[in-house]
Amino acid sequence: MSWKASEMTADVKWKDITPGCNIYEGGTSKVVETGDWRTERPVLHAEKCRQCLLCVPVCPDMSIPVGKDGKRGEFNLFFCKGCGICSVACPFGAIEMVREEK
């Protein structure tokens, strides 16, 4: 049994779950989807975005990646909880919050 965090998925059986749900590796937040309870989703209107990057530091998670070119990319919805802070912080109205439909 490897007991990797990536294997502790929603269908893990009781005999395979780690004792006490203890975790035996670092950086496991990267493999755990925490954006699955979002009710609203941010949409980037690229034509309005001036790449001022004010949205990046206000994101409470790691949902706005910045590339090597110093420009922000598309939202990482694996972590985004739809809090909307980025949308409020944007001076150019480039981030719109829309209802999450599944």
Binding site: A10, K13, C21
Partner: protein, 392 residues
């Protein structure tokens, strides 16, 4: 052959701790367990152990200290009683669900109110569902022997373990005792090398994770399995201890039960008194017997069913009350065990006794047997929820 000594129950437990030489003790004083950390801190001060002794500001912190230390990969211990155990309760659940085999010595005492410092089992029984293994001792010798076996048991199933004795009755009474030689203790208890720990390892580790409803029940099911597995471990370790010392232990002890028609079930120091009552009644030709529960958690349901199925009447004697309006907790579990096994023959009654240090005498136990005799003769249980030796 062991070393002949005379020690109080608290001293005996502190001595066992010294022989084991654990890594960390977090403790806060409370009557009647205060002497345990008191004696042990002297061993620390004298350099007789390597233990890090952490005097904390509360029992909640004492258990938190143990949780941190055990998760780090240490053997962690504490001692407490009564309200102190209550104050630990939140952290007792954390220790069990984080699967940390901490060892806790409990000198059992009543709970307030009315305020009372004397013995009953209200404290330990109050936390019986916290996920800890619980052993109860009849004598100072058993308190010592149980402590020497505790870490082997807890560590084998990754569960914390309580070693309970009766406050004052054994904790402060001095009895003859046979100690095990230091090197034999060290060999028997062994060293603790957990597979995973916070410190001294290459791999990082997180303890005390959050579990959403998707994971929580699977974690609890695994914890329940560990408690079931503990039964066999207690038997094996008790047998091995017997080979070492001549004193074997199981989940229960049966006394004069082979042909018994009436039986009493209880735990702790009153077993000695009950044995005397059984002896006197046996001398008069009565077929009476006693079952002493040593392990209350895990509950020895199969053993009790097997031992009780042939009797006509039994009394389950609880040194505490559930205040559920119908019976003591031990009675409830015995009745559930018999029912689950399809055994409806024995008539059982629940007795609450010895609360807040109320003396339990041979005559008290004989009064219970007198009632059982009536039930066995008539087949009528009458009231099943009774208080023993209470002024009417």
């Amino acid at each position: 052959m062991g070393i002949r000594e005379r020690l109080s129950g608290n001293e005996a437990v502190a001595y066992a701790m010294k022989q084991i030489n654990p890594d960390v003790m977090g403790a806060f004083p409370i009557t009647p367990s205060t002497e345990i950390p008191q004696y042990f801190s002297a061993y620390v001060d004298n350099g007789q152990v390597d233990t890090e002794f952490i005097p904390v500001e509360s029992e909640h912190s004492a258990m938190s200290t143990c949780i941190g230390a055990e998760a780090a990969g240490c053997r962690a211990i504490s001692a407490t009683s009564s309200c102190g155990l209550c104050y630990m309760t939140e952290m007792l659940y954390v220790a069990a669900s984080d699967r940390l085999p901490i060892t806790l010595a409990v000198s059992c005492r009543a709970l307030s109110g009315p305020i009372n410092i004397n013995n009953d089992h209200s404290d330990a029984m109050g936390v019986r569902d916290a996920g800890w293994i619980q052993l109860f001792a009849e004598t100072n010798q058993e308190a010592y022997d149980n402590y020497l076996q505790a870490m082997r048991i807890g560590e084998a199933v990754s569960l914390p373990i309580m070693v309970c004795q009766d406050g004052f009755i054994t904790s402060h009474a001095i009895e003859n005792i046979e100690l095990v030689e230091d090197e034999k203790v060290r060999k028997f208890v062994g060293e603790y090398h957990p597979e995973h720990a916070l410190l001294g390892r290459e791999e990082p580790m997180a303890v005390g994770a959050y579990a959403t409803p998707v994971y929580y029940m699977e974690a609890k099911r695994a914890q329940a399995q560990a408690m079931m597995d503990a039964k066999d471990v207690i038997r094996k370790v008790g047998k091995e201890f017997g080979k070492l010392t001549g004193r074997s232990y199981g989940l229960i002890e049966k006394y004069e039960m082979e042909d018994a028609e009436e039986a009493i079930v209880l735990m702790g120091s009153s077993a000695g008194t009950a044995k005397e009552a059984v002896n006197e009644l046996r001398a008069k030709g009565r077929k009476v017997g006693l079952i002493k529960i040593r392990a209350f958690r895990p509950f020895p349901s199969e053993e009790l069913t097997e031992a009780l199925k042939g009797v006509k009447a039994f009394a389950a004697m609880d040194k505490d009350d559930s205040f559920n309006g119908h019976c003591g907790p031990m009675y409830a579990e015995i009745a559930a065990s018999l029912y689950a096994a399809g055994e409806s023959g024995p008539k059982g009654i629940s007795y609450i006794y010895g609360l807040g240090g109320r003396d339990v005498r041979v005559e008290s136990i004989q009064r219970v047997f007198k009632e059982l005799e009536k039930i066995a003769e008539t087949g009528k249980t009458g009231k099943t929820y009774r208080y023993l030796d209470v002024r009417e």
